[in-house]
Amino acid sequence: MTRGSRLRRALPPLTVFLVVLLLWEFGLAALNVQQFLMPRPSVIVAALADQAHILWDATLYTLTEVLGGLLIGGTLGILAAFAAARWRLASEALVPIGIAAASIPIIAMAPIINVWFTADSPVSRMAVVTVLIFFPIMVNTMRGLTQVDPAALELMAACAATEAQVLRKLRVPNSLPYIFTGLKVATTLAVIGAIVGEYFGGPLAALGIYIKSEAYQFRYNHAWAAILIACTLGIGLYVLVLAIERVAIPWHTSSRQEVI
């Protein structure tokens, strides 16, 4: 893709974004909407600058929880998927656990998890994130490991490949795009999970707790600044996964840039 065409692709969403921003800034004032209900973008940016110090600390803390949770949940999900794809018994044992983890109302579970690992520890929120992302990672990885072209399996059989070779040379590469799909879902879930978890306790310098306490004290401009950061965090992680995907599996359809 050339620079020009990339710019052309970015133009429509950028335009919409700017128009919305302008309407927000000036429209709200014109309609006489009260500041605390919906602060104007300029007010939020001002709060961002004003609170920069604590917001920076809070962002780092929450980011640590998100990354830790992604690492633990991602590793467990991938390992479970390998076991489930290999042994029927493991699949029968693990898939229901995954479904159960996915159907837990995280709002109900977060306070309990906070008690298990103590609210002061970031491990609590890592556990919440783990519960949230385990299933999407596991299901996607499993699909990638098992949904292999039957003809490719016949080809491996014709080459007298061992099971380990089939895994290494066929199933694992085949699963990579699926794992990245799972990771993309997981990044946004992880930010939500960490912040929801923080609502039920933790140090003050954490995005979730900050949002909650500032909102209680009617400092909505501060709360909005933190929400903006949380949003940026989610998008940033998503883009990061996208970038890693491009580098890791350049052969995949989603990464192909040349036009045939």
């Binding site: 039957p150 003809a151 016949e154 014709a158 080459c159 007298a160 599996i249 995949h252």
Partner: protein, 290 residues
Amino acid sequence: MSEPVVEVLKASKTFGAGEGALAALQEIDLTIRAGEFVSLIGPSGCGKSTLLRLIGDLTPASTGEVRLNGKPAAQARRAREYGIVFQAPVLMEWRTVQRNVELPLEISGVARAERTERATAMLRLVELSDFAAKYPWQLSGGMQQRVAIARALAMDPALLLMDEPFGALDEMTRERLNLELMDIWRRTHTTVVFVTHSIPEAVFLSSRVAVMSARPGRITRLIDVDLPQPREAATRNEERYFELVTAVREALHQGGADEATAAAEGLGTGASTGEGEEDAAARIRAEGYA
């Protein structure tokens, strides 16, 4: 007469068991000798792909025996004595063309230097040297199928199994690849078993055509193709070529008539041989390729 490479001895294949059993192949006898090019032709569901999979030990025979180079087919497969090309190219999209051709060599533990050398030679054979560093999606369908052929030949097998390799290609590409395949066959002296449902293709390529009929799958006629070698584009204009095309077509229709008779007589197709789940899976696969 040269050594037999493929010996199919009274081989039958039944998918499923009891009421729902499907006799895919019934008592097939077929001997293919070194250097032959034998086509299996017949209507959909006649079991030609299943017969090819029996030869390659990709599905076991229900009864009877299949031998390759004098060994049981399973043993020959484990010794990697044949190469196979499917209807789809089945290339690994994460591997370059070069590394796709290297795959069988890699699996059998050939050292890197030799792997590169063999794959390079094979790509030269199919005239794709310039595309070694490309990924499969950057190639046309015909080129992808040539990569699959190069991969099948990488281990220098005595036997090449081809399952409708050009079935998904347009007529022009198919005719060109037929010519190229003839060239490769002459140069490698490989024995070929070739499944097709195209009569002109079977006649043009083969030294013998095995005509099959369906339900149960049987070989109804073996037709020697006595067209002179080498086969070239001009071969398609020879009178003898048209005669043989007609002969194969008639044999195919004859087979259809036989099939009607067989159905009328209710020949035993429900033989219970007690297959398990594996064969049901194999049947689903086989049907997918029929």
